[in-house]
């Protein structure tokens, strides 16, 4: 995030041994455990950053994040009153024999050899009637690394550069960013400009499906596609009164390239009965431009600190969202605190979101059945407990419950789909342990 006026006040470090004018190191780490209801996605994500602060305002930071994700994830198809069968490509090492795997009842089926695809096979999984189709074979690992350096530069209060690298089994992201900040008004006011660029490569298992091509267990000839991203954030932070800090950001972001989910289907159903006829790979626009305004306020009322933030987001895919977050930190004496929090989020659907397509209509230019592009409201309620072990060491525990609420019964549903819940949103619980330590 852009540096702020409060950072200029000393970055939250009371006392003379830490803060501006001293050399010290700041360690921040967290372990996130996330689990969706109904045996869907589970994730474990440890991460840590180490920031060295120099005597003259220099900051050198390194960060590492590891992610392990597995579980069942909706594949985009709608539920039906009959059993449904899905196939995905599978690489076979050695000879192929048809077996049932342990991962959620998927079955490996050998395919006749084709040119250049010896020992090819498919993974087959079935969805029972009246059940949301999910792929239980979903599993991924990610390692992310980031570093940054910043210091005062000439007339500028601060200038900095950063870079990041993230690698998954089927995705790679390379990021580079820079920022400048200037303090005014006895350091009560800070203006900042941050620029971010990103180059992503998607190399999905099974290759890149052609847009709207039929579900196919064979490996595709195109194995990777790229996406580039360029954005900036203009920030204004103001120490308004002794106990009121305000931050206002405007963000602009432009993405260009492959933004389709290569694993996600969209059902084609009979226009009268609503019964599934086949499954197509989805297709999204190659360009996305987004803007957002973010306003955060912090109020210190003695033993409590109130944090209220609002965000308005809009993009060229037709998504408009509003977010409100409120937390109240209540100090329990000198060493511990609790912090209840609530978040409310609402988004409209992308203009190419479809629950399904019918055989009576021509294919649209773009279509996706991804729930994340559907209209829904989400709420999060959380509670945090923090304990200051030493004056410079803090351990905290937090937990929360996230809930998505959407329309599972659209008014224009046809045939058997009227009886199905078409909203594929989820509930999730998460638990987080954080550890922060400053040392010389």
């Amino acid at each position: 995030m852009p540096p702020t006026a409060a950072d200029a006040q000393g970055g939250g470090y009371e006392g003379g041994e830490f803060g501006p004018g001293t050399f010290y190191t700041e360690q921040s780490s967290a372990l996130l455990i996330y689990e969706e209801a109904g045996g869907r996605v589970m994730a474990i994500e440890p991460g840590a950053t180490l920031t060295a602060h120099g005597e003259y305002g220099e900051q050198l930071s390194f960060g590492l994040t590891i992610d392990a994700v597995s579980g069942a994830t909706p594949n985009g198809a709608v539920p039906a009153d009959q059993s449904q069968t899905f196939v995905t490509p599978l690489k076979i090492h050695g000879s192929c024999s048809t077996v049932t795997t342990a991962s959620g009842g998927s079955q490996v089926v050998c395919l006749p050899p084709t040119q250049g695809q010896l020992n090819s096979a498919e993974r087959v999984y079935k969805t029972p009637p009246n059940t949301l189709p999910v792929d239980k074979g979903f599993s991924d690992r990610r390692v992310g690394f980031a570093m940054s350096y910043a210091q005062p530069l000439g007339p500028l209060s601060e200038a900095g550069l950063g870079a990041g690298y993230s690698l998954e089994r089927d995705y790679q992201a390379i990021t580079a960013n820079g920022h400048i900040t200037q303090n005014f008004n006895a350091d009560d006011t800070t203006l900042s400009l941050s620029i971010n660029s990103e180059i992503d490569s998607s190399f999905p298992y099974g290759g890149i499906p052609a847009p709207f091509s039929q579900m196919d267990p064979h490996f595709k000839p195109v194995t990777a596609r790229q996406k580039t991203q360029l954005g900036f954030v203009v920030g204004w932070t103001e120490v308004v009164t002794r106990n009121w800090l305000m931050q206002l950001n405007y963000s602009f972001d432009s993405q260009s390239g492959y933004q389709t989910d290569p694993y996600r289907f969209i059902s084609v159903v009979d226009a009268v009965s609503g019964e599934p006829l086949n499954y197509l790979y989805e297709n999204r626009p190659g360009s996305r431009v987004s803007q957002s305004g973010f306003w955060e306020n912090k109020f210190d009322f003695g033993p409590t600190v109130t944090d209220l933030s609002l965000r308005y987001y809009k993009d060229s895919w037709g998504v408009v969202s509003k977010t409100a977050e409120l937390s109240e930190r209540i100090n329990l004496g000198q060493r511990s605190y609790i912090e209840p929090s609530a978040r409310w989020y609402e988004q409209s659907a992308a203009n190419f979101f479809r629950y399904y397509l019918t055989n009576a209509q021509a294919l649209p230019g773009f279509a996706s059945a991804d729930t994340r592009l559907n209209a829904f409201t989400s709420t999060t309620f959380g509670l945090k407990y923090g304990l200051r072990i030493t004056p410079r060491t803090e351990l905290d525990f937090s937990g929360g419950y996230y809930r998505q609420i959407g329309n599972g019964h659209p008014a224009d549903a046809i045939g058997q789909l009227k009886q199905q819940n078409l909203f594929a949103g989820t509930d999730a619980a998460f638990f987080l342990v954080g550890y922060n330590w400053d040392f010389h």
């Binding site: 600190v305 969202s321 988004q347 987080l432």
Partner: protein, 82 residues
């Protein structure tokens, strides 16, 4: 009579506008506390993002389940999570 009232109203409006502008411009120089009044701003909990790793973890959850990202910082997540 109507003309007189309209003229007075315009003058009053201009005076209010000029006063507001003067207050705003003059106020810019004095808004906010003096340096010796910033004790509360030095507290960790008054930093805009006092626990960045935990903020990143929460943003990661929302980014992977919702269509919006960014605002507090850059859009996108530097990963294929969405």
């Amino acid at each position: 009579m109507h003309r007189f009232v309209a003229t007075r109203a315009k003058t009053l409006a201009r005076a209010i506008l000029a006063g507001a502008l003067t207050f705003t411009v003059a106020g810019c120089g004095t808004i906010g506390p003096d340096p010796w009044q910033k004790d509360l701003m030095a507290k960790r909990e008054m930093q805009p993002d006092p626990y960045p790793m935990e903020t990143a973890a929460a943003e990661h959850i929302y980014f992977s389940k919702e269509a919006s990202s960014g605002g507090r910082g850059f859009a996108g997540g530097g990963c294929g999570c969405n």
